[in-house]
Amino acid sequence: MSTLDFLFNGFAVAFQWQNIMFAFVGVLIGTAVGVLPGIGPMSGVALLIPVTATLTSGMPTEAAAASSIILLAGVYYGAMYGGSTTSILLNTPGESSSVVTTLDGYQMAKQGRAGAALSIAAIGSFAAGIISLIGLVLLAEPLSKIALKFGPAEYFSLMLLGLCAVSGLAGKSMTKALIMTIFGLLLATIGIDAVSGIARFTYDLPILYSGLEFLTIAVGLFALGEVFKTILERDKEDGAIAKINRILPTKKDLKDSAVPIVRGSLLGFFIGVLPGAGATLASFFSYMTEKKFSKHPEKFGTGVIAGVAGPESANNAASGGAMIPLLTLGIPGSGTTAILMGALIMYNIQPGPLLFEDHPEVAWGLIASMFIGNLMLLVLNMPLVKVFAKIIQTPKKYLLPIIVAISFFGVYAVQYTTFDLYLLLACGVLGYLLAKNDYPLAPLVLALVLGPMIENNMRRALTISNGDFSIFISKPLSLAFIIAAVAWLVVPLLMKLKGRNVIVNDEE
């Protein structure tokens, strides 16, 4: 079957009524998650895993996996849409990927053009979503064909590259990022070893035999960590929300933002494909590019529509691009995709090159549903922008305890142990303390998900080579990955030594 046939079948899956519902609920919750400060896409997706698991419990495994991943991915790219709303209306970004949107977006809102900024952000995100999906469709098959030729050595090196890329770009201190990565990998070794069946670091506690649940740790670190932070450091009340008068952009606005949207989408897509460089970096680069290409660069920061259109398209395109390494190689490039991957693994579906052969309905159903989801977002966002702006005003005194309660429910409904609830609370405190002191959390979660796979591939490769470690550098592809991994760590260090500023990727 050709790619088009597969895509057609994907649409058949995505158009099943329950999947349309799932996509709708996903993007709706995603937009809300993006608007609400305090919950990012990562904790939003993690919190919804148990809910989707229950919703799909009656279905056959594959259909259930397809439906829930459709919903969870909807939350992911929906959050990218929603993040712009608070940036523009309140000058406080809902997500780190919308930070640059505040520069020109809030200025536009002050001039009474909030509606135009919001709708351009929505249109740009839609265009970006479609462009990145076309890229996904075109690249998915060839990439997974190449990936099928990989042996364990290549996989090990590729995952090493993924981890190095995320650690090299995350946070202010690379030492701290690397510590978090290694710590995550070590936590992943707790439990029964999948290869030999030997219990490691369990101290005869039965609760540890299955290892630490990544869902618990992710929700604790991100959702509870953020809640604790807001409780502890709750400072001033938010400022006034800008008024939205006219929603539709003028013709001039549309003309001015058409090129930035296309440029931002392409840039964002390719940055998203790269592991480690996510939506935050993409929006940042796009803003700088627009400034460079503009005829009036001095006007940026005073409410130029290109400064909203470019970055908002870029961060959405990056979230589409980030699906490529996840689906074709089975290697998540960011914290949120790591959590999506964890969700797929829960359904016993291994993302990777075989995904397109073994579970075409999951892979292509997801891709097709992203088309539909993006369309829904556009339809939802244009008229409902005022409604979503209302969500911002949800009082924190109700929101924060409810997030705690939802986290408890989510973890307990999947794990059924009180132990996981204590672990959740501990991770919350840990997440607050670590994030406050510039220890990036995304590498930890990524390492926790990748850990078992890295170890298994390493041991399989070493078994093939009879324990000879040179197998990782004697295979050309594997060597290339390792060189790239080392470069990812060394180049930023060299640039720092030269006194240049290195742009770092924040949590997303």
Binding site: T175, T189, S196, I402, V404
Partner: protein
């Protein structure tokens, strides 16, 4: 960034690294005749973690930063909510989901801001009953709903 915190974590991760290295030695060496046993991966990682935390400790020696800026941190509110969350975790199974969630939410709401008892009661009640009935009755999930007398 606080220097004391970095020092503390440096030492903590150093100890964690050591713990993993030492504990790995008690894992049996070989699996099914393969030369690479289950102990290698954690041992290597433990060593890397030790080296990295030494580097972190070294880095904390270098930078001198005494930021006098004290943030007003609301420990009391946090502690009340944290402790009630811990109690919530403990009583969730014996007391059931609905009652424990209701009490936890009520305490947390009132801790965040005193007053407005009626809306606190209503939201806490709606959430705890709503989630339980939606999840357990409508979706058929299993949750310990009420205490078993």
């Amino acid at each position: 960034m606080s220097k004391t915190f970095d020092r503390f974590t440096g030492i903590a991760f150093l100890l964690i690294g050591l713990l993993f290295v030492i504990e790995s030695r008690s894992i049996s060496k070989s699996a099914y005749g393969s030369s690479v046993g289950p102990d290698i991966f954690p041992t290597v990682l433990g060593i890397i973690l030790i080296l990295l935390s030494l580097r972190l400790l070294f880095e904390t020696m270098k930078y001198e930063r005494a930021e006098g800026k004290k943030e007003s941190v609301q420990y009391v509110k946090f502690l009340i909510i944290f402790i009630s969350a811990a109690v919530y975790a403990t009583v969730l199974e014996p007391l059931g989901y609905v009652i424990s969630t209701f009490i936890f939410l009520l305490i947390a709401f009132q801790t965040m801001e005193r007053g407005k008892w009626i809306s606190s009661l209503l939201i806490a009640g709606a959430f705890s009953f709503g989630v339980y009935y939606f999840f357990a009755e409508f979706l058929g999930g299993s949750l310990p709903g009420f205490p078993e007398f």
